[in-house]
C-alpha cells in the first residue's frame, strides 16, 4: 500500500500549481466529453476531423492546436514575468521557475510556431497552386497526428512525472542522467523526437507538392510568393531536422541506454551536442520566419492593390537566406572558445544574412509606396511587423559581432532580440495570415472592433515588455535567473516589463473574444474574394469545396486571379465539361499511429520498456496494415461535383 502511495505521489506531481493544472485539465476534459456525448458528436468528430486527409481540415486542426499552445506558453510567460517583477520574489522558487521557462521555450518554438506555419502551409499552398490536395495526403495526416501527440506528451509532463527543466536547448551535461535524473527530461526528448518525424515528412510533402502539383502553365516564376516562401522553408526543414534528430537521439541513448556521447566522463563531449543542436537551431529560426515573410508578401500586395515589388529579388533572397542559414550556426556559441578564425568566419556569414533580409523589407515598403493602402486587420499586423523586424535584425547583427557577443551572450539583450524577431516576425505574421485567410477557411470574416483592440494592446504591450530587456541585458542581467537582489538598478525595468507582458496577455484575450464574437455574429463572405485579392485561392468559393477546384485552372500570369478579374471575369472559366475527380479516402490509421507513438514515448519516458515495445510494435503493425490497403482513393462523380458547385452559385 505504501509502495503504491509513493509511486502515485511521484507519478502525479503535487503542488499548488500542479493541482491547479490537474483540476483545470480535468474540468476541460470533462466539459469536452460532455459536449461531445450530449450532442452526439463523436461520429462527426471521427469522420470529419480525426480521420480526415483533407489539407484544409488538417490545416485548421494545426491552427487550433497552435492557438491553444500559444495560450499555454503564454500562461507560462506570465508566470515567469510575475516571478521577475520584484526582486527577491518567492512566487515560484528556483525549481519551478526552471521547469516553466523550459516548457515555455519548447512549446513556443516547437508546438506553437511550427504548427502555426504548418497550418498556413496546409490551408493555403494547394489552393494557391491550383491543386486538389498535397502530394501525399495520407502522410500529411500522419505528420499532424505525430505533432499532436508529441505536443500532448510534453504537456502532460506538468502534472505527470514532472516537467523538463534544462532549458529549451537541453544542453548536456545538465540534461544528462547524472544532473537531471527522473522522467522530466525524457519528456522533452521523446516529444520532440516524435513530432520531429512529422515535421520532416511535412517538409518533403510540401516540397513535392510545389515541384509536382502546380496547375498547368504555372512555371516556378509564376508561383505566388507565399508558395515560394514555403518552398524555401521546406529545403531548410529537410536538411536541418535530421541534425536535431541525431542530437536528441544520441542524448536519448545517453539517458536511456547508458551511452556516453555527451557526458563528461566516459569519453563524451557535450560540446558536440551544442554543435549539432544549433546546426538545426539556426535554420529553425528561418523555418519559422520564411513562411511569415511569404504571408507579408501576399497581404502587402493585396492591400496596396499593386503587384509585389521586385518579385525576382524576393525569390532570390528567399533562396539565399535558406542556403546561408546553414552556415551561421556557430553564432549561438561564439563563447565556447573555438578560436578567432572560426568565430570570424561565422560572424561574417551571420552578418551576410542581414542583406537579403533587408532587400525584402525594402521590397515590401516599395510595394506599399504609392499603393492604395487599405488598413485592414491583416495589413495592420504587417505594418507593425516592419519596425519590429528592423530593430530585431539590427540587434541580431550586433549579436553577430563575435567579440561583442561575449558581453551580450545569454543576457537579457539576447532574450529581447529573439523575442523581437519571433513575436514581431513570426507571431505577427501568423496572425496576419490567420485574419487574411480566415474567410477562406470558414466562410466568414473576423469582425474588426475587438480585432483592433487586440492588435493595439498586443503591440503596445510588446514594446513595453521587451524594450526594457535590452538595457537590462546590458546592465548585466542574465537569462534564466529566477530571482535577483534589490539595489542593482534592475527592479523598475523588470516591473515595467512585467506590466507589458500582462498587456499582451489582455491583447490575446481580445483576439480570442474577437474569434468568439465573430462566430456568434458571422459576417458571411459570399463572393469568395472578400479582400479583392490577387492569387488563385480567392477564385474559389469560401470555404473551398473539399475537392478545391472543380476544373484545374490554366495559368498564364503571376497574379492569376487579379488578371482574370481585370478581364472582367467574376468566377473561373466554367465552359469546359466537368470530369470525375480523383480523391484520397479518409483513414483512421494516422490517428491510431499517433496514439501508438504516444504510448511508446510514454513508456520510454518512464523506462517502462514493455509498454514502449508494445507501442512501437503497434506502429509497425499499422504500417504493415497500410501497406496492404488497396482501397485508398475514390472518384467523385460528375453529378455530385455539379451539385456542390451549384450550391456555390457556380456551374
Amino acid at each position: 500500500m505504501g509502495g503504491v502511495k509513493q509511486f502515485l505521489s511521484h507519478f502525479f506531481v503535487t503542488g499548488p500549481f500542479e493541482i491547479g493544472g490537474d483540476v483545470s485539465i480535468g474540468l476541460v476534459s470533462l466539459a469536452i466529453l460532455f459536449v461531445l456525448t450530449r450532442y452526439k458528436l463523436w461520429g462527426w468528430l471521427w469522420r470529419n476531423w480525426l480521420t480526415s486527409v483533407d489539407h484544409k481540415k488538417i490545416g485548421i486542426m494545426y491552427m487550433l492546436a497552435a492557438l491553444l499552445m500559444l495560450f499555454r506558453g503564454g500562461v507560462d510567460a506570465l508566470m515567469i514575468r510575475t516571478q521577475l517583477a520584484l526582486p527577491n520574489s518567492q512566487f515560484l522558487g528556483a525549481e519551478h521557475y526552471d521547469q516553466i521557462f523550459t516548457t515555455h521555450g519548447t512549446i513556443m518554438i516547437l508546438f506553437m510556431a511550427m504548427p502555426f506555419i504548418f497550418a498556413m502551409m496546409n490551408i493555403v499552398v494547394p489552393l494557391q497552386l491550383g491543386a486538389r490536395d498535397v502530394a501525399f495526403p495520407y502522410l500529411n495526416a500522419i505528420s499532424f497526428w505525430l505533432f499532436f501527440f508529441g505536443a500532448m506528451l510534453l504537456n502532460i509532463s506538468f502534472v505527470i512525472g514532472g516537467s523538463p527543466d534544462a532549458g529549451w536547448v537541453n544542453y548536456p551535461p545538465l540534461a544528462e542522467l547524472q544532473f537531471s535524473p527522473g522522467p522530466g527530461d525524457n519528456f522533452y526528448l521523446l516529444s520532440i523526437l516524435i513530432s520531429g518525424i512529422g515535421s520532416v515528412a511535412t517538409g518533403i510533402n510540401f516540397l513535392v507538392t510545389i515541384l509536382k502539383m502546380r496547375a498547368p502553365g504555372m512555371s516556378l516564376m509564376k508561383m505566388p510568393m507565399f508558395s515560394w516562401a514555403v518552398f524555401a522553408t521546406c529545403i531548410d526543414i529537410i536538411f536541418a531536422f535530421p541534425a536535431l534528430t541525431i542530437a536528441l537521439g544520441l542524448e536519448f541513448a545517453d539517458r536511456i541506454l547508458g551511452a556516453h556521447f555527451f557526458t563528461l566522463n566516459g569519453g563524451g563531449n557535450p560540446m558536440m551536442y551544442v554543435n549539432l543542436f544549433w546546426m538545426w537551431g539556426h535554420p529553425e529560426v528561418y523555418i519559422v520566419i520564411l513562411p511569415a515573410f511569404g504571408i507579408y508578401s501576399e497581404v502587402v500586395a493585396t492591400f496596396s492593390r499593386k503587384r509585389l515589388f521586385g518579385y525576382t529579388a524576393m525569390v532570390t533572397s528567399l533562396l539565399l537566406i535558406a542556403i546561408a542559414s546553414y552556415f551561421v550556426w556557430l553564432h549561438h556559441f561564439f563563447t565556447m572558445g573555438a578560436g578567432a578564425d572560426v568565430n570570424t568566419f561565422f560572424a561574417i556569414a551571420s552578418m551576410f544574412i542581414a542583406i537579403p533580409t533587408g532587400v525584402k523589407i525594402f521590397n515590401w515598403l516599395f510595394t506599399m509606396f504609392r499603393g492604395r493602402i487599405r488598413m485592414t486587420i491583416p495589413m495592420m499586423w504587417v505594418i507593425a511587423f516592419i519596425p519590429n523586424f528592423v530593430i530585431g535584425g539590427s540587434t541580431g547583427v550586433m549579436l553577430a559581432a563575435a567579440p561583442a557577443d561575449y558581453q551580450y551572450h545569454n543576457s537579457y539583450f539576447l532574450v529581447a532580440h529573439f523575442h523581437q524577431v519571433l513575436i514581431g516576425g513570426v507571431v505577427y505574421g501568423m496572425l496576419a495570415g490567420m485574419y487574411y485567410w480566415w474567410p477562406k477557411m470558414f466562410g466568414f470574416i473576423l469582425e474588426e472592433r475587438f480585432a483592433k483592440w487586440g492588435f493595439w494592446l498586443f503591440n503596445i504591450g510588446f514594446y513595453v515588455c521587451f524594450m526594457p530587456q535590452y538595457p537590462l541585458g546590458l546592465m548585466g542581467m542574465t537569462r534564466r535567473m529566477y530571482t535577483y537582489p534589490a539595489g542593482l538598478g534592475w527592479s523598475s525595468l523588470n516591473m515595467i516589463s512585467t506590466v507589458g507582458a500582462f498587456v499582451m496577455g489582455i491583447g490575446f484575450i481580445f483576439i480570442v473574444l474577437n474569434i468568439v464574437s465573430s462566430i456568434r455574429h458571422p459576417v458571411k463572405d459570399t463572393t469568395g474574394d472578400p479582400w479583392d485579392a490577387r492569387t488563385l485561392e480567392w477564385s474559389l468559393p469560401s470555404p473551398a469545396p473539399h475537392y478545391n477546384f472543380a476544373r484545374i485552372p490554366v495559368i498564364d500570369s503571376r497574379d492569376q486571379w487579379w488578371e482574370m478579374k481585370q478581364k472582367g471575369m467574376t468566377k473561373p472559366d466554367d465552359s469546359t465539361p466537368l470530369a470525375p475527380i480523383h480523391m484520397p479516402k479518409n483513414s483512421g490509421k494516422p490517428f491510431i499511429m499517433g496514439v501508438l507513438f504516444f504510448i511508446a514515448g510514454f513508456g520510454f519516458v518512464f523506462n517502462w520498456y514493455v509498454l514502449a515495445g508494445l507501442g512501437l510494435l503497434g506502429v509497425v503493425i499499422t504500417l504493415f496494415a497500410r501497406s496492404f490497403d488497396y482501397d485508398t482513393d475514390y472518384y467523385i462523380p460528375v453529378d455530385e461535383v455539379k451539385h456542390s458547385e451549384a450550391a456555390f452559385g457556380r456551374s
Binding site: A131, R132, D133, A135, F136, P137, Y138, V208, L211, K212, M213, R214, A215, P216, I235, F239, A243, N269, M271, M272, N275, L276, M279, I323, Y326, F327, W329, L330, G337, A338, G339, V342, I552, H582, M583, P584, R626, S627, D629, Y630, T632, D633
Partner: protein, 109 residues
C-alpha cells in the same frame, strides 16, 4: 504538366516485390551493426577505427542512393540533380564545419 501529374499520389501501386528495398535495408543494418560492434569491442586503435567507420558510412550513402533513391534511372527533371548536389554540399559543409569547430577541444585537452 500532364493530367496524370495532377491526380493525387497515393500508395497502392501493385508492382513486383520490392527486392532492392529489402536488400538495401539488410545491407544498411549490417553496415551499422559492424560499425557498432567494432567500437564496442575496440578492435583497432582510434585513428584506424575512425577511418573504417567513415568508410562504412560512405558505403552506406551509396547504398541509399542505389537501392532506395533510384540514382541509376537516367530520365527525370533537372531538379533531381540539383537536389542531390545541394544535399552533398550541405553534408560536406556540416561535416567539415564540425571538424573545424571541434579541433579546439583537441588543442585544449
Amino acid at each position: 504538366m500532364t493530367d496524370k501529374d495532377q491526380t493525387i499520389v497515393t500508395a497502392g501501386g501493385h508492382g513486383r516485390f520490392p527486392w532492392s528495398h529489402v536488400i538495401g535495408y539488410i545491407f544498411s543494418l549490417v553496415l551499422t551493426l559492424v560499425a557498432l560492434l567494432m567500437v564496442i569491442n575496440h578492435v583497432a586503435s582510434g585513428g584506424m577505427l575512425l577511418f573504417v567507420i567513415l568508410l562504412l558510412a560512405t558505403i552506406q550513402i551509396f547504398i541509399q542512393l542505389f537501392f532506395f533513391m533510384h540514382i541509376t534511372e537516367k530520365h527525370g527533371p533537372a531538379y533531381h540533380i540539383i537536389t542531390l548536389a545541394v544535399a552533398l554540399f550541405f553534408t560536406f559543409a556540416i561535416i567539415a564545419g564540425s571538424l573545424w569547430i571541434m579541433t579546439f577541444t583537441q588543442l585544449s585537452s
